[in-house]
Amino acid sequence: MKHSKFRKMFRQEYRFFLIFSGIALLGFSLFYIYPIIRTLMLSFTNKTIFDPTVEYVGLENYIYALTNDPLFHQSMIQSLIFAFASGVMVLVTSLLLAVLLNSKVKFIGIFRTIYFIPFIIPSFAVGAVYKNLFNPNTGLINQILEWFGVVDPPLWYIAPSSALITMIVISSFGFGVKMLVFLAALQGIDPALYEVAQMEGASKWRSFRFITLPLISPMLFFNIILITIDGLKAFSLAFVMGNGQGWPSNSTLLFPIYMFMTAFNMPFRLGYAAAMAWLFFLMILGLTGVNFLASRFYVEKDVT
């Protein structure tokens, strides 16, 4: 009796669940779970793309990356710098703009659209446009700097010393989604709280510090996680700015680019690239863990 009831329930309630989630699960298994397991297996081999003979090398790839590959270290450090610096800039810009767009000004919808536009333009196109803007000789940025009397304007992406900074500046315009997340959180705050604060004589800054920030802190935490991961796995902008190879002089060689170059440029070391991917995953996992730990100190648990 119980068995037939279960079957009936299964047929009625879980049929469509299985059909629709089954397709998604199949896709997830094929395109995520399988590659993850395959990458782990590859990381213990000396597999190259074209060579069908594969040898098991144990932890050799991991040890080589950690002890013997200067570009692994350089790209890892550059990725961390990029993720941190662009993350801070994106976070500050998106919060600032969200606060501004939350105010009661005319044509606010137009402003929201304008600020969101950079996000919907593909990074490849953004990179190409900014390359022209930041061209030291003919770009608009240096021309403006010269109008303001700057005698020796920066070489931006041409010089190895400033190329990464240029990329960080450009990437800070990718605040679209984060800004929307903050905006949604800001719009959920009861205006009465600000009215009470104003009546109590609180300044704008104190209202922001003691009402706005605590109430949007869960979203702040969410954005920090997103920004950290986005920054660490940044690829397309670095690919365009660095001609796909960290140009100039490996200064824009972010870790995903180096991993890509290792796997898909000669001599096509797939096994080694897979090991690097796992080391990278562990690093992201570690940083996310740190973020979670740090969140205890700034995320307000009860925001109702």
Partner: protein, 443 residues
């Protein structure tokens, strides 16, 4: 309801099966070949001819990276490779030596020797070459004509002599003509603002710098080091690199190529504001024509004290048979046509020059409208002098990540720039040597 549901499931399963079957390797007399995206539609006549002769249909994919098809049902029977990547691809390609030995129509000695050597590993031939790429001196005839008087003055030419580059040019002629072709104005702050350059600078690709090094008598690896010890600690390496740097960074009487900053500002042969390319790539011929450039080629200039210097780099696209193909004999039949006279004749129409030694005759026999309208004799002179890249599978990686990245620092002024060429060469040597030590542990 249940019936409809069951029928929907059956239809879905059938669709899946049909879809999967479509991906499976085609059966019957069909051969698959992976070609570049720009080749789409170009060789239909040749494929039809092969079908008429053998009854085997050629199914080509265009722009799909064969490396991504390996191990899948879409894997081609005939695979594109090249003299540069053959070492990496060796494991996926069939040894053609026996096929060639048993076939009277195919003779490896009919192909350019340097290319066949590059495609032969441990005495086994893994691919046959198709279109060649070799370093040449490209020049824009319009820019030469516009600066004819300046070039005549610089090279002390009579009115009867051509101002275009000649096969007897030395580096000195190249520099003098390059400077004469460079146009600039002096700004109030005494800096030069160029509007035209005599030659391009290759900052990412090593094809220019390495040729200077080799033509001056140097080499990248030490002899007898199994290509694992860098040889950039020599006086020749310093001289070659100084020449490479000076042409972009020198004073007004030395500079005739853009530095890194100027190169980012649309100065290029393709844009029609740079008069020459030292090295170049034959794959760009088609683009030059499409853009309507009035261009021609000449053999590379040589150092004055090295009249018999080696030429530039030579490489070739090549095709082999996938080790996983179950139609090896049929694939070899097509490979013969594809890499032979028939294939070479078709490819010439698209600016690709075959790797056959008698290519000059083949081109000469073509109808005049199908012949390349350039100095084709110079190409064959260049091929005779050319040399292949070092046989070392990490060579492109080393050049890309360790050599050009350091040389770049010499090609601009400002923060992060280098001026001490010897110091840069020492650093490259140190990094390259350490790389090979790490890779091979002194073995």
């Amino acid at each position: 309801m249940m019936k409809i549901y069951r029928w929907m499931m059956i239809c879905f399963m059938m669709l899946m099966i049909v879809g999967l079957a479509a991906c499976k390797t085609t059966s019957g007399d069909v051969l698959k070949i992976a070609l570049d995206i720009e080749d789409e539609g170009r060789y239909d006549t040749l494929f039809q001819r092969f079908f008429d002769e053998t009854g085997i249909r050629i199914e080509a994919t265009f722009g799909i990276d064969p490396s991504k098809c390996i191990g899948t049902s879409c894997e081609p029977d005939i695979m594109k490779t090249s003299t540069v990547v053959i070492d990496s691809m060796q494991g996926t390609l069939l040894d053609l030596t026996d096929f060639i030995a048993q076939d009277d129509d195919v003779d490896p000695s009919h192909y350019v020797d340097a290319l066949m050597e590059a495609l032969t590993i441990d005495g086994k031939i893994y691919a046959l070459p198709t279109s060649i790429n070799t370093s040449l001196l490209y020049y824009n005839k319009r820019l030469f004509d516009e600066s004819a008087q300046q070039i005549r003055d610089a090279l002390q030419l009579s009115l009867e002599e051509s101002v275009y580059p000649s096969s007897t040019w030395t580096y000195d002629d190249y520099v003098l003509a390059g400077v004469a072709l460079s146009k600039f104005t002096v700004l109030p702050n005494m800096t030069r603002s160029y509007t035209q350059f005599g030659a391009e600078t290759q900052l990412i690709w090593w094809g220019e710098w390495l040729v200077y090094l080799q033509q001056m008598g140097g080499s990248f690896y030490q002899a007898n080091s199994q290509n694992r010890i860098c040889a950039l600690d020599t006086a020749i390496a310093l001289e070659a690199t100084t020449f490479y740097v000076k042409k972009s960074m020198g004073n007004a009487s030395e500079k005739f190529a853009p530095n890194a900053i100027e190169a980012a500002s649309a100065f290029s042969f393709l844009n029609g504001n740079v008069a020459m390319i030292f090295g170049g790539h034959m794959g760009d011929w088609y683009s030059y024509d499409v853009l309507g450039l009035d261009w021609d080629i000449q053999v590379l200039p040589v150092p004055a004290n090295q009249p018999n210097a080696v030429g530039g780099e030579i490489s070739a696209d090549a095709f082999g048979i996938s080790i996983r193909s179950n139609k090896r004999a049929q694939a070899f039949q097509f490979l013969k046509m594809w890499t032979g006279v028939a294939g070479a004749t078709e490819m010439v129409k698209y600016g690709k020059i075959g790797a056959l030694k008698n290519m000059q005759t083949i081109i000469h026999d073509l109808p005049i409208e199908e012949q390349p309208r350039i100095n084709i004799n110079a190409l064959f002179q260049a091929i005779d002098r050319a040399t292949t890249l070092p046989r070392e599978k990490d060579f492109p990686k080393v050049m890309r990540e360790m050599v050009m990245t350091e040389l770049y620092k010499l090609m601009f002024t400002g923060r992060g720039a280098e001026t001490n060429i010897q110091l840069v060469l020492n650093r490259i040597k140190h990094n390259v040597d350490q790389y090979y030590i790490g890779l091979y542990k002194n073995n």
